[in-house]
Amino acid sequence: MMSSLLDWFIQPDVITAIVAFGSMGLFFVGLFGLLTQRHLIKIFISISLMEAAVFLYFLGTIFHRELTAPILGDGHTAFTGMNDPIPHAMILTAIVIGMALFALGVSFAIEYYKLTGRTDINKMKEMGE
């Protein structure tokens, strides 16, 4: 019973579906937070959640169980039967950029709070009405 359930789970289609649904759900959790929360730092955290969902989606969809990591070693001597290295490199770039933007945004939010004492985006008056 248990092993047949596990066998059903490790089918490629099922894994792809789980990754697609799960990352889409995480993305919409982030989008929901972005639309409903009014605290500045919570908004940045929501954006980070959406980013994480995109990263998970990319890495999950290129993952194949029968292929190895794109690194030689541990008995692999040829670049065959490996997972695609391009999404790994792209996500590596995107993680660094996302982290830098998150740090910059949070520091802007802290600075705004120190200058005005407000964190609520609905009470921002500086942009003009």
Binding site: P12, D13, T16, A17, A20, F21, M24, F28, L31, F32, L35, T36, R38, T61, A69, P70, I71, L72, G73, A78, F79, T80, M82, N83, D84, P85, I86, H88, A89, L92, T93, V96, I97, A100, L101, A103, L104, V106, S107, F108, I110, E111, K114, N122
Partner: protein, 236 residues
Amino acid sequence: MNFKRDIPVRTYSGFALSALLVLTILTILLQSSVEKIERAGDKLLGINAQEGVANAVTSVVVYFRGFDTLGEIAVLFIAALGIGLMVSSHKSAQRHKEESNFILQTASKLLFPFITLFGVYVMIYGHLSPGGGFQGGVIIASGVLLLLISYQNFEVPHALITALETLAGISYVLIGLLGLWILDHFLGNFLPSDISDMGMLISGGIIPLIYIIVGVKVGSEMSMIVQNLIQRSDDE
């Protein structure tokens, strides 16, 4: 939970419906053609076999997309610059001192060399094993964060960080220009790289060199970001 009044329920149900639609289309697409797609990565892996770098992700990041990585660390630099500028715009006189306890201080003194060593290892072996410049740099910055938390008087040496960062940035561009001069394309692999050396520490020509440079730059920038944010949260 406080919902915003002027976003009606209809908007949310619209979002849910669009999500369902996107999911349906996505699953149909994925199930129909997941086997037939010819991946660009296979071609890259084929080229990579002549390049002499064991970690294909590293050779994609540093070699095939080396110019992108230069832009990426430029973005990181601009973010660090923005954070630093806003801190120095009204610099606080003192971080108010509250000594952390003795256990934390001793443990961080013991741990910091090992964290730095591990970061340098991840950086140098980036072309052979999982890891690389970005990861190693962030590990070193986490060691700096540990010191900043446990010693209230600790300051990252500003001149040293600036010198390291400038040196790393300049040498990245210089290596790229050398490749342009010798091999007629930016970041050309002008150092001798033999395929039979694959898996050795010195292999792959300029690729490990560039990843070490990226690691130094990321480590110094992240240390500055961490220090600026800590100072900021202290001086409220």
